[in-house]
Amino acid sequence: MEENKNLLTIRDLHTIFHIRNTNIEAVRGIDLDVGYGEIVGIVGESGSGKSVTMKSVMGILPDNTTINAEKLVFDGADLLSMSENERRKLRGCSMGMIFQDPMTALNPLKKIGFHLEEVLMRHCNISRAEAKKQAIEALEKVEIPCPEKRLEQYPHEFSGGMRQRVLIAMALACKPKLLIADEPTTALDVTIQAQILELLQKLQKEEKMSIILITHDLGVVASLCDRIAVMYGGLIMETGTTDQIFYKTRHPYTQALLNAIPKPNTQLKKRLEPIPGSAPSLAHPPAGCPFAPRCTFAMPECRTSIPAYQQFEDGQKSMCLLREIDTQKLAGEGGSK
């Protein structure tokens, strides 16, 4: 069966926030598979539900949320039937997560050593002395110089990029099978971004783990990911391999995203192409395809009901009634490079 081949299987995931007397459905029915050793990118605008999806899988959303899914299986284990305690044992151990803002992710009053040793002692059942040793190894792995000295320092003595490395070290300390990276480079300078991504790539090869990379930046996924899922309005619009997404785009939203990237070889007089309109309200989601109001190809059927997924060769899927995108119709040059 499919599930055995995959590290993570998500079927029909819905996540609802209960705020005061309104319900906001941030994730409205996601299917996703992540294979062992695979790097999957989840791309989308703010509010598309990409972070919430992964936080639902981790189980770290606040109390006022409801998570429903037909299937949520990790490494052969059914997450839905687990107790909170069992799920907690997985977090930081076989599934790790790093977040967007390294500046606020660490407790400012605790040393770096404490952060690392705590995670190690919690999951790997070792003594503090052993944890300290492994902490030093972890810091070396993420290329932080003088790790012994660094262990005794506080977060404010580290730069943003360094802190993110520490967080990566913490996430990898117990050799997880899955690393979820939620916009890990968004808050960092461009040069540091490249370094962090390189580091992730190197570590993935060494540890042979799967990575889910969440970002709004298509450039980031292009270099790193095997497969990409594009999210919008709480739903996945398109999934496919990186090549398929970039060169054989099937969904108008994906195409629009690609068009919106400024390209270095454009004629100077060309305007940038933002996508007109704004993201849908999650409190009052539209009846049909969430992208329909902003879509150049929208047909009346698009607004009445959410389209079914269309399958293409080699596993590419698109949630759109179109089979082909007439790239000329989208103002601007052809979408693919």
Binding site: I60, R88, G92, C93, G96, A105, L109, E118, R122, Y154
Partner: protein, 317 residues
């Protein structure tokens, strides 16, 4: 960091001096003073002059001020106009009594507030939180002296369980149980007086910490809610509170004025109130200066404690 302490001390001294001037002026230029309390319109001008000379009121203002300051600096606060006793020795007898009341009750309130505040903050919005926070709101609105009266009525008059006045029953000065019996009611009222404010502070600090990013990160690394609360939030919340300890300093003298008066507990409170009612200016001035100095020192202590404990600030100084 020593430099910082030195700098702050230097800043504090002019502040203190200004306060002494203000206090002195306030008392000296008051429309009615202790001399008036001792003289009557029938007395001859000569008699009045003699009385003034006796207490040093005939010298120029400036000289009076300097003499007074000199005295204060050497620990001599002068003499009470009404009782003719040395203020320093009166205070030396009374401050310990106040301290006996203030220190234990503050510490107990402090410990209770940490437990209640952490519990309340981590269950924000649920019934436990609403209960604790609600009780705090009521507590803040309750005049301590009223509470004292109610307690006195029930424990003292109605059920005759506890004595209602003073620190000892006459003749039983060495009996500890007797002391305790006198002690317990003012102690309870003091704890209840301190508790709501402290609890609210801890609670809001807890809520603030729990909404920090690092809490979510810790959850992502598998920490249980209890672990997060005890290992991370509690320490981060305690830190600013320890600095509040600095503010306990002035309370050692003035923290229980009204309660002591209600219970006739022989601390600084009734001494001060009596001095006020009797226009006994030297006493009033002495207590004013003492408490202001303690406030300034207390602030300084808080700052130092904060510097010493927050690693981020330690570097900067």
């Amino acid at each position: 960091m020593v430099k910082y302490i030195g700098k702050r001390l230097l800043q504090a001294i002019p502040l203190l001096l200004i306060i002494t001037v203000i206090v002195f002026c306030m008392i000296h230029f008051a429309p009615y003073d202790a001399i008036d309390a001792m003289t009557s319109p029938q007395m001859s001008a000569q008699t009045v002059q003699q009385i003034k000379a006796k207490y040093g009121y005939d010298k120029p203002v400036f000289v009076q001020y300097l003499l007074w300051i000199k005295g204060v600096a050497t620990g001599n606060f002068g003499y009470s106009i009404v009782t003719h006793q040395s203020i320093s020795s009166d205070l030396a007898a009374r401050i310990p009594a106040t301290m006996q009341l203030v220190i234990p009750s503050y510490l107990v309130a402090f410990l209770l507030s940490i437990v209640l505040g952490l519990t309340s903050g981590s269950h924000k919005g649920k019934w436990l939180d609403k209960l604790i926070d609600g009780l705090c709101s009521v507590g803040i609105a309750t005049p301590p002296f009223w509470l004292a009266m109610i307690l006195i009525f029930f424990m003292g008059y109605q059920f005759n369980l506890l004595p209602i006045l003073g620190m000892h029953t006459i003749g039983m000065e060495n009996s500890f149980p007797d002391y305790l019996a006198h002690y317990i009611m003012p102690f309870i009222v003091m704890v209840i007086a301190f508790l709501p404010d402290l609890t609210r502070y801890v609670r809001s600090s807890t809520i603030g910490q729990l909404s920090e990013d690092y809490v979510v990160v810790q959850r992502a690394f598998g920490a249980s809610r209890f672990e997060i609360l005890s290992k991370h939030v509690a320490k981060n919340v305690l830190l600013p509170i320890i600095t509040k300890f600095g503010m306990m300093l002035p309370m050692l003298v003035t923290g229980a004025i009204i309660i002591e008066t209600v219970f006739s507990w022989p601390g600084v409170g009734p001494y001060f109130v009596k001095a006020i009612q009797g226009m006994d200016y030297p006493v009033v001035m002495a207590i004013l200066i003492l408490s202001s100095a303690l406030v300034i020192l207390g602030n300084l202590l808080s700052d130092i404690l904060y510097c010493a404990t927050d690693p981020r600030i330690r570097e900067m100084r």
